[in-house]
Subunit: 148 residues, 2 copies
DNA sequence: ATGACTGCAAAGCCTTTGCACGCAA
DNA sequence: TTGCGTGCAAAGGCTTTGCAGTCAT
């Protein structure tokens, strides 16, 4: 579902791409703009549809390639919402983010955030023998509609 | 990597399958036994290899079908360790479990557990408008070897 | 005996790759 | 001008499905 356009992220992303030596091709720019409209989990195919609807169709391969670059640069986080399907989400430069509760039956995604959960994760991340760059928490079960 | 055989889980799983009305076919039983040897993330293809090595080869489709049943019954938890590849892990009836730190570069998986992280997750699970049945936390970054 | 279980092969599906053309710098 | 970026189509790789034979009960 599309939300208000996050131009701050969009500009930041384009700038980072430039700094990393990438050119500003039409497809890449279009994918960045499409992502700017999603606050939460979007799939590559949903972005493709968004772009086609906006009369700015982009080849599927270019979408995947753009997502790959953005993820490498830490501008996007990838995770699996539905079985076998990758979802992407913008990474806010401020570090502020949320996690997800996902319905097993209908796939509905409910984002949530919790400071103390974040603190616990930060503590654990520091304790583990890894240089942790990101984390992801997923809660799975039934949403209210599906639980009845 | 294989670890000591968890016969408690193995018996529990077979019993639950029986109670759910499933027959004790050879393939299904073999998959359950193979799973009993893994404390942490195993993929369907790794199980297939284990079984073939043990001279008890099981058709790939049967492995996937067995994993599906076990997951439905809550005896197994599925998650994505490597990109696009499903990993499975036994669910201990006691509720005791761990989470994972995964290396972006080499794929190494380091399990960890943390009581206060679990508490934070339980609290959040109760606050969200879902009937949460399971959760999963993944930390991603570079392991010591890959960070150098 | 009967329907669940199994294995093989084929099909599905998301994602990636090969390649020739177009475009940013 | 140069080689990165793009699109199309084909290939990949994990997972699922169809179907006929087999086995548990």
């Amino acid at each position: 579902m599309a939300t208000a356009r996050d131009t701050a992220w969009e500009e930041h992303a384009l700038e980072m791409l430039g700094e990393a030596g990438y050119r500003r091709g039409g497809a890449r720019t279009a994918v960045v703009e499409a992502l700017a409209h999603h606050d939460c989990a979007v799939t590559a195919l949903e972005l493709e549809e968004d772009l086609r609807r906006d009369e700015a169709p982009v080849g599927r391969a270019s979408i995947y390639r753009a997502l790959e670059r953005l993820e490498e640069l830490g501008l996007l986080q990838r995770f699996e919402a539905a079985r076998g399907i990758a979802s992407y989400e913008r990474v806010n430069p401020s570090g502020h983010h949320h996690h997800h509760a996902i319905c097993r039956r209908c796939g509905r995604i409910e984002p949530f955030e919790d400071r103390s959960l974040e603190r616990a994760i930060e503590r654990v991340s520091a304790a583990v023998p890894f240089e942790i760059a990101e984390h992801d928490v997923t809660l799975r079960g039934l949403c209210k509609s599906c639980a009845d």
